[in-house]
């Protein structure tokens, strides 16, 4: 007992010793002593030497009270020679902060004078990092919990290794310069400016809102993104949009490294409330944003060729080709518009512009808020594009028209396929292709599939060419020879009358049998849907449901859809009457089709 007591007491003693050592001997004291010694050696007068001898190490800090929110920056406790020009060639932490004309520093009588005085601005306002800390690990923000590590100098240990080296460089500080130097074309914030231009050139503005800049609603609001996220997260979100959210439909833009960097710096500069503007200025700006600029002349109604060329300019200016293909420019994300006039008429394009989901319910195309006249001009321009590409052989036809979505291998994984909903059909699945009559396949090519991204090719291809490309698909991709299609006993018209009771019964059956894949809302997003390709059909896609006959609905439910996950429900004991109720329910939830009856 007594021995144990002695040992425990000894431990207490030792720990006390260690703690006292830790608390009273600081690294920064050594730096300060080194500074005093070296400065004394460099000083010329005795008075200067005496003053340095009199100094003893202590915590130095700049209290910033007149600039932004109050901050305490203790950086100068270690970096004591910041303003001492004699130390410009010393090693850190005792190196002079460089003087540059670019930062607005001026030389007066051979002596540099700073534009941004440390006493007024502190350090962290430009450099980030944690001003209150006195240990390198914490004050430089190496600690993974600190939201703003030294901009461009420090890469936190948990950042992704594959791009963390790209997150270094003094350029990253520009996002802090831009807090006060908000004007565009400011020389010191060139990368912020470049990022802002990229934000528009890549059509980021279509989906994302940034207060005072853009009004997109599809993606997250980025007004305060620089405050919320570190640069590694921003970089990752741009180059791999699905890294953090598997269901994100943000396109993966093909940007150069320099462009990504500029975008990251631009986004990092978005911090919501800017401390360089007063609340009154901010309020005025918000008032002005709602009011149209005064004296703006009523736009002259354009006609003919002038309208088309203004539309062309608008399509270019609004960066449509950040996603779409148009002529030689290709964003690699959305369908080819090069001969849109052959596939869609002007009114369809105009309506689609105003509200894309009204035509293709699951489209990711943002609803832009352009003036009606602009939409008109752009629609007219797109409708005027009527030159089909040359396609001498069916193989060329497939390459020109189909491959972008259905893929080089015909398996539905074309380059833009992941951005399309419903997903393009897998043409290699013989189970599906060979169980559908040739007429239906021809019809899908000729007239398109309503409510989906499959356009009608009837004006681009003549019947022979359609036959040709279909044969090409059969032989190249489907491969299995077509067989006689078994005739099913299916009613032409739904035998069950559409009544409220029938729909209620149908809904009941639907929730029990179908919602696992098609979802409770029948929108095709049930819990199992993510594991299934082709994805379960969105049964609220009114345009599609309207285009499908009762017969086809009956057949698909009763006998399943070969080559997809849809089973044959007759095997699971669904009677024809129950299917009738289901069909009534499906028709009933698509309001327009209910009105049609």
């Amino acid at each position: 007992m007594r021995l144990a007591l002695a040992i425990a007491s000894f431990v207490v003693l030792i720990v006390h010793g260690l703690v006292f050592y830790q608390q009273f001997f600081h690294k920064w004291e050594n730096y300060q002593t080194a500074y005093f010694d070296q400065a004394r050696a460099l000083s010329k007068t005795d008075a200067e030497k005496a003053a340095l001898t009199a100094r003893s190490p202590r915590i130095e800090q700049s209290l910033v009270t007149k600039f932004g929110e109050n901050r305490v920056d203790r950086c100068i406790t270690c970096h004591l020679a910041m303003d001492d020009p004699r130390f410009k060639d010393h090693a850190q932490p005792l190196r002079t902060h460089p003087y540059t004309a670019g930062m607005g520093d001026v030389q007066v009588n051979g002596k540099w004078e700073r534009r941004h005085k440390f006493a007024d601005f502190g350090c962290t306002v430009c450099h980030d990092g944690q001003g209150r800390g006195l240990q390198e690990h914490y004050s430089h923000g190496e600690d993974e919990y600190w939201p703003d590590p030294l901009a461009g100098y420090i890469v936190q240990a948990n950042w992704r290794k594959d791009f963390s080296t790209k997150l270094k460089g003094k350029d990253y500080m520009q996002s802090n310069c831009a807090q006060c130097h908000t004007e565009e074309n400011f020389a010191g914030t060139a990368l912020v400016d470049r990022g802002r231009k990229l934000f528009f050139a890549n059509n980021c503005y279509g989906c994302h809102r940034i207060e005072g800049l853009s009004e997109g609603t599809l993606g997250p609001d980025l007004s305060e993104v620089g405050k919320k996220f570190k640069i590694d997260y921003l970089w990752e979100s741009i180059v791999e949009p699905r890294a953090n959210l598997a269901t994100s439909f943000m396109p993966q833009f093909h940007l150069s490294e320099q462009d990504v960097k500029a975008l990251v710096i631009f986004l990092k500069s978005r911090r919501g409330v800017n401390f360089s503007e007063t609340s009154l200025q901010r309020y005025r700006a918000s008032l002005n944003a709602k009011r149209p600029p005064e004296g703006a002349a009523e736009p002259v109604a354009l006609q003919g060729a002038a309208l088309i060329s203004s539309g062309e300019k608008l399509v270019t200016d609004h960066a449509c080709t950040a996603c779409h293909k148009l002529g030689s420019r290709d964003g690699g994300i959305a369908p080819d518009l090069s001969f849109e006039g052959l596939m869609k008429n002007e009114s369809w394009i105009l309506e689609h512009f105003k509200n894309p989901p009204s035509k293709i319910p699951d489209s990711i195309m943002p609803t832009f808020r352009f003036p009606a006249a602009d939409f008109q001009a752009m629609s007219t321009y797109l409708a005027s594009l009527k030159t089909p590409p040359p396609m001498p052989t069916p193989a060329d036809t497939f390459k020109e028209l189909c491959q972008r979505c259905h893929g080089e291998k015909g398996d539905g994984h074309g380059p833009i396929a992941i951005y399309l909903d419903p997903y393009p059909r897998d043409l290699t699945k013989a189970g599906f292709i060979n169980s559908k009559p040739v007429e239906r396949l021809q019809n899908s090519i000729k007239n398109g599939v309503a409510g989906t991204s499959m356009p009608s090719w009837g004006q681009v291809l003549n019947d022979n060419q359609i036959q040709g490309v279909l044969q090409y698909v059969f032989t190249t991709y489907t491969k299995e020879p077509r067989k006689e299609i078994t005739a099913r006993k299916v009613p032409e018209k739904n035998p069950v009358a559409a009544s409220a009771e029938s729909m209620a019964r149908g809904e009941d059956t639907f929730v029990r049998r179908c919602s696992g894949c098609h979802g409770r809302k029948a929108d095709g997003k049930g819990p199992n849907s993510l594991d299934i390709l082709p994805r379960p059909r969105n049964l609220r896609n009114t345009a599609f449901v309207d285009s499908v006959s009762d017969r086809r609905l009956f057949e698909s439910i009763l006998y399943g859809v070969q080559g997809s996950a849809m089973p044959s429900w007759i095997d699971y004991g669904l009677s024809q009457n129950e299917v009738g109720d289901l069909v009534n329910f499906i028709r009933g939830i698509n309001a327009r089709s209910a009105a049609r009856k």
Binding site: M1, R2, A4, L5, A8, S9, V11, V12, V15, H16, L18, V19, Q22, Q23, F24, I59, V72, R74, Q130, R132, G133, L134, Q135, Y138, S139, Y145, W146, P147, E224, K228
Partner: protein
Amino acid sequence: MSQAVKPPSLWTNMRELPANVWHSLFRNPLPSDDLQRSSTSFTNFFLHIHPVKVNKNTLRPIYTMGLGLMSFFLFLILVVTGVLLMFYYVPSTTQAYDRMLDLRGTVAFGIFLRNMHRWSAHGMVGVVVLHMCRVFFTGSYKKPREFNWVIGVILFLLTLFSSFTGYLLPWDQLAFWAITVGTSIAAYAPVVGKDIQFLMLGDATVGQEALLRFYVLHVAVLPVIVTLLVAIHFWRIRKDGGLSRPEETATPVAVSVKAVELKKNKTYGLQGFVRGPFTKIGNTPDNSVFAWPNLLIAELFVFILTLAAILTLSMMFNAPLEEPVNVMHPPNPAKAPWYFLGLQEMVSYSAFWGGVGIPTIFVLLLLATPYLDRRTAGVGKWFARERLLANTIFMTFLIVNVVFVIIGTFFRGPNWEFVSPWK
């Protein structure tokens, strides 16, 4: 007639001053015989909480494991470090986090005080639970100690609540979201749940009001209640006849002549008030030894051990300080403090039953235990065979809780989905 006593001269007074001051402070010399040992315990304010003699069973380390004392000493460490931390802390949403940074970086001993406070708080929750287990498994809550058990259960709940209120004060992401989760568990209570949450937070969400409320509870209200209850808890130990021990089967030695003579002596009137067993004074042969130095040295040992453990832990591990609060950016998963993760885990199965129903039943059962289990057999023995049923029930509850806490702490990832910690 005797000569009048000559008053001591001023010179003598001055010469004897240090000795007089010393003796008025320390009235007893280091005791060398039994009488002095008794009077040392009896006349010292800090020592008179001890009995003059304690049963040998009380001093068996394996019997109590010093857990009750350990909780008390941790509480003392918490009070001392807490008061020191109060000199630097400001319960304001704009300043609290900055103050944490100052404590970590600039204030002398700041980070060490915070570490000690943090690890003592976690340690206290654990040790109090272990202490409760010790009392249960030795059947020590039985008559006449029922009421002290009830106080103990209340102290356990207060310990949890003190720790919980302290969790918010650093005002970092960890604090903010743990309290958000913790208080929303309270909101699952029927009828009054939302009102309890509002009462705790002073708002619909965790904010300045909640910080101030938690601060006042943490530094004033709860410590005062705990201090009072701890005093009662100790006092009742004395009044209930010291710590529980097995019934002495037979008097070890036949009563000697001296003891018979003792009967003739005057019994002190005050002792007539004492009900139940009390420690005998005199040379009656029994199983007891003098508190000085036996009990004191044991207490000192527990104290030094506790202090050494906390100091070493504080030396080795820093108290966590995560990002400043960001209301818009919850961590995934947002977890409550570890001792509430069992609740959070149960909440993931059923909000009402996991968060309110089962815990309430559990606490009520704990409070009622000594009134439901009235058999007196098996007191004072670890895992007595006579108490197999009671011990098994308690052990089951305990293991289930511990397993839930472990699952909640280590096996739950984003969206509270099961993850393996070894991956």
